[in-house]
């Protein structure tokens, strides 16, 4: 009350608004930062912050690189940089499709496993709780590249099912390697979201006769979805950006093809424009995800 007396103008404005409505407000910067930090701590993930300026800067930088290389190439009477990039683009795009496929599969399976692992972390049975906690911590704190190498060399090259022998391609084993950290991170996202729901919700459900599993399904998890979506999308963006790691273990994705193209062309001035084009491709793919994540975060901050 005393505060609103101090701001007579603000009070006048407030009076026009029904008390029971929640309106979106622009939070002061410090509060926004504090929330961001709290979110990151809760989800245990750094949150991506990209905006339109980043996109413009990236495109400008790429044009600059390509332009410089183009000018040098023309001066030396070599084939145009742009036409070389365009020539290799179909192959690199095919590689990029594999990056996307790997990320989708790893995200899908990782999310499914992570959901169970996260729920196991809040189990009432101590062995399940401790076991899932340990598993989560192990894979969450292992470098992704190490997990990738581990899976490439530990998983079998071929399996026999009912007398039929199937080869397991490199990319599939790499996908498994990326699924593990996704699983662990989703597990933490789920645990964090469930634990962020006030205790009163559990009590109210219990007093209405809901069993524990039913409470989770009908009351807790539906409320968690909103809270989990932004960090989950954030995790996906990190995952797609980590898929070029697979090139190190010999998976033929966008990064490998770009390197292959450079080797074939044997031209030093292509180095920066080609990798620049690859960077741009990733940026164009990830940027809308980061934007959507931010929009969702902002929306859910106001309504919950």
């Amino acid at each position: 009350m005393g505060e609103s007396h101090a701001h007579a103008g603000v009070r006048g404005m407030r009076r026009g608004i029904a008390d029971n409505k929640v309106f979106p407000v622009l939070l002061p910067a410090s509060e926004r930062l504090a929330r961001r930090v709290a979110d990151e701590r809760r989800y245990g993930l750094p949150m991506l912050r990209l905006d339109g300026r980043g996109l413009l800067a990236c495109i400008a930088l790429f044009c600059l690189w390509a332009g410089v290389a183009e000018a040098q190439a023309q001066a030396a009477g070599l084939e145009s940089v742009i036409s070389i990039i365009l020539k290799w683009m179909p192959l690199i795009s095919r590689g990029f499709a594999l990056n996307v496929a790997i990320s989708f599969i790893a995200m899908g399976i990782g999310t499914l496993l992570g959901l169970f692992l996260g729920l196991a972390q809040i189990s009432l049975l101590p062995p399940i709780r401790t076991g899932s906690w340990a598993l989560t911590q192990f894979f969450r704190n292992a470098p992704w590249l190490v997990l990738l190498f581990y899976c490439i060399f530990v998983l079998p090259f071929r399996v026999s099912i009912l007398g039929q022998t199937y080869d397991i391609p490199n990319w599939l084993r790499a996908t498994v390697g990326l699924t593990l950290p996704v699983m662990a991170n989703v597990s933490e996202i789920v645990r964090g979201a469930v634990q962020s729901i006030p205790r009163g919700q559990w009590e109210a459900a219990e007093s209405l006769g809901y069993a524990r599993g039913q409470t989770l399904r009908e009351i807790i998890l539906p409320q968690c979805l909103k809270r989990m979506l932004p960090p989950w999308m954030n995790l996906y963006a990190i995952l797609i950006m980590s898929t070029p790691l697979a090139s190190i273990v010999g998976v033929e994705e966008a990064m490998s093809f770009t390197r292959g193209a450079l080797n074939a062309e044997r031209r030093g001035d292509l180095l920066i424009p080609m990798y620049g084009a690859l960077l741009l491709a990733f940026f164009i793919f990830c940027y809308p995800i980061a934007q959507a994540t931010q929009t969702l975060e902002r929306r859910y901050q106001v309504t919950t």
């Binding site: 029971n20 929640v22 109210a204 007093s207 006769g209 809901y210 009908e218």
Partner: protein, 244 residues
């Protein structure tokens, strides 16, 4: 006198080393409104939570109708169908509309017919004077409105007794009244009510019996007129002086 709907005998409950209930006994007859008052931390809320089996108790016994709440094989769903509870913080489910909040448990827990439950829920929304807020989400309602939805939600389970745990403590003075009116109407219609409250005037007007608790024991138990005009215990007098 008929057998009481709730009978608590020598109830004891500790949280760690802290014994919050040190042998509490009380009875609630059908159709009665009972108020439990007392200073904060005297174990009032814990009594309600024990009745509803939200927290287990250590010693003593609680009977609700013919059910033994302390029994190892307690049918909790049956108990909670009989005993409704309303909380200080309303605890509505924010992802569901007011009407859905009221309908959820009978449909999902008791597996009752949805159309029947809906008719009942609409009647209850009308009863708590919120028939125009059926499709509002809890976030769009005031505290008092949310609390009335919470009361309707509890009533929709068709309980034999309602427990109210300081239901007006989180409300602003204006909306306290609308919630108290709702509860008073319930009591007058013959719903058995057990209330933990700090609203002394309300307790005096509505209660059939008043229990005064302090430090985990029942210090005094009498009818409202006697309780407020001629308290027997020094501790009760000291408490009431601060309130009235």
């Amino acid at each position: 006198m008929t057998t009481p709907l709730i009978r608590i005998e020598n109830l004891r409950k500790s949280f760690g080393a802290n014994e919050v209930l040190k042998g509490v006994s009380l009875e609630v007859a059908k159709g009665e409104a009972i108020c439990i008052i007392g200073p904060s931390g005297s174990g009032k809320s814990t009594i309600l939570r024990c009745i509803n089996a939200l927290v287990p108790f250590d010693q003593g016994s609680i009977q609700v109708g013919d059910m033994d709440v302390g029994a190892a094989k307690l049918d909790k769903i049956a108990l909670r169908r009989r005993v409704g509870m309303v909380f200080q913080q309303y605890n509505l489910f924010p992802h569901r509309t007011a009407l859905q909040n009221v309908m959820m448990a009978p449909v999902q827990v008791l597996k009752q017919d949805k159309a029947e439950v809906e008719a009942r829920a609409r009647a209850l929304m009308k009863k708590v004077r919120l028939e125009d807020k059926e499709s509002a989400y809890p976030g769009e309602l005031s505290g008092g409105q949310q609390q009335r939805v919470a009361i309707a939600r509890s009533l929709c389970m068709q309980p034999d007794v309602m427990l109210f745990d300081e239901v007006t403590a989180a409300l602003d003075p204006e909306t306290v009244k609308e919630v108290l009116i709702t509860i008073r109407e319930l009591a007058e219609e013959g719903m058995t009510c057990l209330l933990v409250t700090h609203e002394m005037h309300f307790a005096r007007d509505v209660a059939d019996h008043i229990y005064f608790t302090d430090a985990g024991v029942i210090v005094e138990h009498s009818e409202p007129v006697e309780f407020f005009s001629a308290p027997k215990q020094e501790r009760t007098r000291a408490f009431l002086e601060r309130f009235l």
